[in-house]
Amino acid sequence: MFSKWFTHAKRSAAGKVVSALLGVMCLWLVGTSAAVAVIEIEITQGGESAIPIAIVPFGWKGGGAPPADIAGIVSDDLQRSGNFSPLNKEDLIGRPVSGDKPRFGNWRIAGAEFLLIGAIDKAGENYNVEFQLFDVSQQRLLSGFNFKVTTQTLRNAAHQIADEVYEEVLGIRGAFNTQIAFVSVEREGGKKSYKLQLADADGQNPQAMLTSPRPILSPAWAPDGIRIAYVSFENRNRSAIYVQDRQQGSRKKIISKAGINGAPSWSPDGTRLAVTLSFEGNPDIYVLNVDDGATRRITTSPAIDTEAVWADDDTLIFTSDRSGGPQLYEVSSSGGRAERITFEGNYNASASVSADGTNVAFVHGSDIGFQIGTFDRELGLFQTLTDGSLDESPSFAPNGQMIIYATELGGRETLGAVSLDGSVVQSLSLDTGGVREPAWSPFTN
């Protein structure tokens, strides 16, 4: 079901705003730089048919405060999906922990359809985190795990618990334990500083993998979740496409020809990049072997062809203005005749394809500006999901359920995320500058 979201002001007035300041949590994360910028996530509109779930604070027998608020992290994750509505803390009628037998009747009266309980225990330097998920009406244990985690992976354990709840209840793989890449722009003195950053999908733990005084563009995750391709203008005469290993910190210039070197996108097998090059005259799509740099030209039109993405191993979807304005086209990844696939309006560009190849998200230009639209390749259905005026750079979550995109709120560059049905919207902003060009990571485990 498609429902439009309101303007930001209206949404705030509706009292549905849940704001989470996340900067403090970064402090105990080892390896983050001293000046970690605060990323703030705001849930600006919740789902209407969300499933009520009671998430009880996890038990902790150690002294002092527990090392992480696992229940809080799980609750935030599930709420952000729009599919769940965690009970308010004051509505939790009991505090059972792992191993307790829940009083299902009471939880049913409290309105919970599902119940998640758990406990954290210290195990030497590390921790054990365990949880049980119950179906309240059936009074049945659905799932339970025991995680051995370190201080660094406590949050990941929480995200994996959220993934498990999501999959048990909805039958769809969760994408909470994934990452996003984005470009931030901060002003230091009179100069701009561009950073290619990686953060957890909830905005936590942002880390710059590349810092440059000149523009960085179009980050693209390899299927391994380790290599990232991007465009850098560090040489003022010529752009270049680099592939960087985020773990090693090593980078390799893949191509830098005269004219455009842009819009990299990884093939599903991780061996090739679709790119835009213009050294042969005007912008066309090429497929490039990452290992040896060999290129193969895919399109030859005299128009602008760019922004190719892989729908599957054999199919590319790209933007072309061969018919006048920019529209999306499909072409074989070995070349051949391209076929136009978008016909609504006169500006459709910058496609992202869901991992199963079913849905395409793209930038749709209309009288009121640029919004994120989607197109179902099987059913041919088109819909507009957002109502910003400068929304761009859509990128699907690896489970295809959310789309992250760049938007503008109050003159500031922020990121937005919208569910595939348009029913839940959230925004993510940086307190020290603008954020743009988000790219959601693949599943990596």
Binding site: G99, V149, S212, T319, A349, L390, E392
Partner: protein, 178 residues
């Protein structure tokens, strides 16, 4: 991982739990993996921000009007700029060692990579006109920044009209190519 096995074990446990009301004893173990805890950062600095131009050099004496503006989503040259471009064409043709970089830019509307292509089309419109006047292609270099380097960061037509441009930048005569 061996998740299906784990879940199966839990289902058995759950029926035990309902049957005898005892505490569930977890036997399934899964180790949480850290997603992207390791990032090895790279910093680029010492980027050349342009060389000081000698005012008596070819670059220093070039025509002073060096910005050409465009209409939204267009790369055609507006008639009022023909005279300025002609001056540059004549000057470069008369000074064959002179070199110019044509930097194409767009406003923020539309997608970033499409705007890179649009900015290049603008730079190339100018390059074509210059070449018609006898400027050699070796004297010219086109580079597009799309919407990445606006001169005015406003979100209105007044700002956008300033950002849709090509900057003609004269370079020192000996350039290191890479």
């Amino acid at each position: 991982m061996n998740k299906s096995i784990s879940i199966g074990a839990v289902v058995v446990l759950s029926s035990m739990l309902v049957a005898c009301g005892s505490n569930p004893k977890q036997t399934t173990t899964q180790t949480a993996t850290a997603s992207g805890a390791t990032v090895n950062p790279v910093t680029i600095d010492g980027v050349d921000d342009g060389t000081q131009i000698d005012p008596d050099s070819i670059a220093g004496r070039a025509p002073k009007e060096r910005v050409i503006f465009f209409d939204f989503n267009k790369s055609e040259i507006r008639p009022e700029y023909l005279e300025i471009i002609t001056q540059h064409g004549r000057y470069l043709a008369q000074n064959p060692t002179g070199r110019a970089r044509l930097e194409g830019h767009t406003d923020e509307r539309g997608t970033r990579e499409y705007n890179i292509a649009l900015g290049e089309a603008r730079a190339k419109s100018i390059a074509r006109m210059l070449q018609l006047q006898g400027v050699s292609s070796a004297q010219l270099r086109s580079v597009s920044y799309g919407e990445e380097l606006p001169v005015d960061e406003g979100h209105n037509e007044a700002a956008w009209s300033k950002n849709r441009r090509v900057n003609i930048i004269y370079e020192v005569e000996v350039e290191v190519q890479n």
